[in-house]
């Protein structure tokens, strides 16, 4: 055997191993710090207490306010991104000319390349004042504008994945629908979207996963007040924002306060892990339906 080949093979193996090693170490750090956290604060307390005040004198360790904040901003984002993204996908597939499509698709992708910190400032300095002009009770920091802007950010994710899913539906089905006298709209919503539903669902789940983990926009525009509420007009705090807040503060290393971010991180990780696996499972189960 040539030595060169061996060396190259070894290098390739090493790069593969590094990614696994890094992932494993992250999980290990998360786990070990979380375990230490949960040895001091019981999981029951963590899940059932209604307040999250680990940095105050009167410490409460209920994760639910952060989960509620995350859920709220994510729900708003999806409520914005799903209808718009799906409409774009349908438009590109059923209506747009091929040439128009080749122009608009890269433009859409640009939305995904804007740094999230820019989105965050956009939410805080443009969207919030705009919304305040007709929603009087809207606070300066709020879940609504952060959620809306996050929705805009994930539109390309939903539109491009859904577009792929819809265009993967066999042409014969579209022809069947047209052949029966369906209008374009009836074809799109009655046949194409249902047939592509698993792919569309995957796009939504990945978008949710992205929104749950999104940090910058919510940290800038949604506030830093953990609050168990579904009111989009007041300041809230998401899991990610909390982690940023503590990481950048002067909480002593190794203290219980410090470990809260690992417990919060663990919670976040469990969410995104489950979502990504769910999407993987759906993809696997349904993608070969027409082959």
């Amino acid at each position: 055997m040539r030595v060169q080949e061996k060396i190259i093979e070894g290098l390739l193996w090493l790069s593969a191993a590094i990614t696994i090693l890094v992932t494993a170490s992250i999980i290990w750090v998360l786990l070990s710090e979380s375990i230490q956290f949960f040895s001091e604060v019981s999981i029951v307390r963590f899940l059932t207490e209604k307040e999250w005040t680990p940095l105050f004198a009167d410490k409460k360790f209920g994760i639910m306010p952060l989960v509620a904040g995350t859920f709220l901003t994510t729900a708003i984002a999806i409520a914005v991104a799903l209808p718009i993204g799906l409409t774009i996908a349908i438009y590109l597939n059923e209506y747009a000319h091929a040439r128009f499509k080749t122009i608009i698709k890269p433009l859409l992708e640009v939305l995904a390349t804007i740094p999230t910190v820019v989105y965050g400032f956009f939410a805080l300095t443009v969207v919030t004042p705009f919304l305040q002009s007709f929603i009087p009770g809207l606070a300066g920091f709020n879940a609504l504008s952060a959620g809306i802007v996050m929705g805009v950010m994930i539109i390309p994710m939903i539109s491009s994945l859904s577009e792929d899913a819809i265009s993967a539906v066999p042409r014969s089905l579209r022809e069947a629908a047209y052949g029966m006298g369906s209008t374009r709209l009836q074809t799109a919503f009655g046949v194409m979207v249902p047939a592509a539903s698993s792919g569309i669902l995957v796009s939504v789940i990945l978008a949710i996963s992205r929104a749950v983990g999104e940090t910058m926009i919510v940290a800038i525009a949604a506030g830093q007040q953990p609050r168990l509420t579904l009111n989009p007009l007041v300041p809230i705090e998401t899991i990610t924002t909390y982690i940023v807040q503590v990481s950048m503060g002067d909480v002593p290393h190794g203290s219980l306060e410090y470990r809260t971010i690992f417990a919060a991180g663990m919670t976040l990780f469990v969410f995104t892990f489950l979502l990504n696996n769910l999407s993987f499972w759906i993809k696997k189960k349904y993608q070969e339906k027409y082959d």
């Binding site: 066999p170 014969s172 089905l173 069947a176 047209y178 052949g179 029966m180 006298g181 009655g190 249902p194």
Partner: protein, 254 residues
């Protein structure tokens, strides 16, 4: 050639895909409640022509036609014609069975539902009637709520025919409807075509000349975008007037 009224007519029809001319000056009149077969080698334009009859080519970029296609004397490419309405009149069955990934029942009543018909009784009656007509009722009557994709290929194709019949078209276009099926299923489809022509005008594209001979009343032979010969099927198969037709029928090319 025919004393019966012509249902579908093409006058000086040219069709283009971009710069490529797919159909050259087609003139043909198809008889009502009869079967007209289009034969010819691959790429001869027979499928293109079939698809102009219900404007199925409309969504292909760069496709355009010149000339006229008349359905009951009315130009189907006129600006005031709604394509979706036209296709309710001119149904279509495709080469590969293409049932929707829905239940058998939902497949059959799809066309009625998109017309806004919601009355369960009407839908159920139409479903049974169409499946009876398509000679599929006895095989599926106990599993109407099962997925159409669970049926065999031949059954799926008859389901697609039932689905087309449910919207009560007057013309049914069939694009090689049996080419993806086994011989027994093919025989069933052919039998069905025989039955259906009592009430419907049928236009069928086929690669299979024996099939054209068995099912059709008239046959049109297409070659390189031209309609070479159009005659009674019997005449065409026994004494073709064009040498190209003769060569094709006797299997010298194609």
């Amino acid at each position: 050639m025919t004393k019966k009224q012509s249902k579908l007519e093409a006058n000086n029809l040219d069709a283009y895909y971009g710069d490529f001319q797919a159909l050259k000056n087609i003139n043909i009149a198809m008889e009502e409640k009869a079967v007209t077969a289009f034969i010819g080698p691959s790429g001869c334009g027979k499928s293109t022509f079939l698809r102009t009859l219900n404007r199925m080519n409309d969504y292909i970029d760069g496709f355009r036609i010149q000339g006229q296609i008349l359905l009951d004397g009315r130009d189907i490419y006129a600006t005031d014609v709604r394509v979706d309405e036209l296709r309710k009149e001119v149904g279509m069955v495709f080469q590969k069975p293409n049932p929707f990934p829905k239940t058998i029942y939902e497949n059959v009543v799809y066309g009625l539902k998109i017309q806004g018909i919601k009355d369960k009784k009407i839908l159920q009656e139409a479903c049974e009637k169409s499946l009876q007509q398509a000679a599929l009722w006895n095989e599926v009557k106990d599993k109407l709520d099962k997925s159409a994709l669970a049926l065999s290929g031949g059954q799926q194709q008859r389901l697609c025919i039932a689905r087309a019949l449910a919207i009560q078209p007057s013309v049914i276009l069939m694009d090689e409807p049996a080419s993806a099926l086994d011989p027994i299923s093919t025989a069933k489809i052919e039998e069905l075509i025989h039955e259906l022509k009592k009430n419907y005008t049928i236009v069928i594209v086929t690669h299979n000349m024996q099939q054209a001979g068995r099912v059709s009343d008239h046959t049109a032979f297409f070659y390189m975008g031209e309609l070479v010969e159009y005659a009674k099927t019997k005449t065409m198969f026994t004494s073709p007037s064009d040498t190209r037709t003769q060569n094709y029928i006797t299997g010298r090319f194609g």
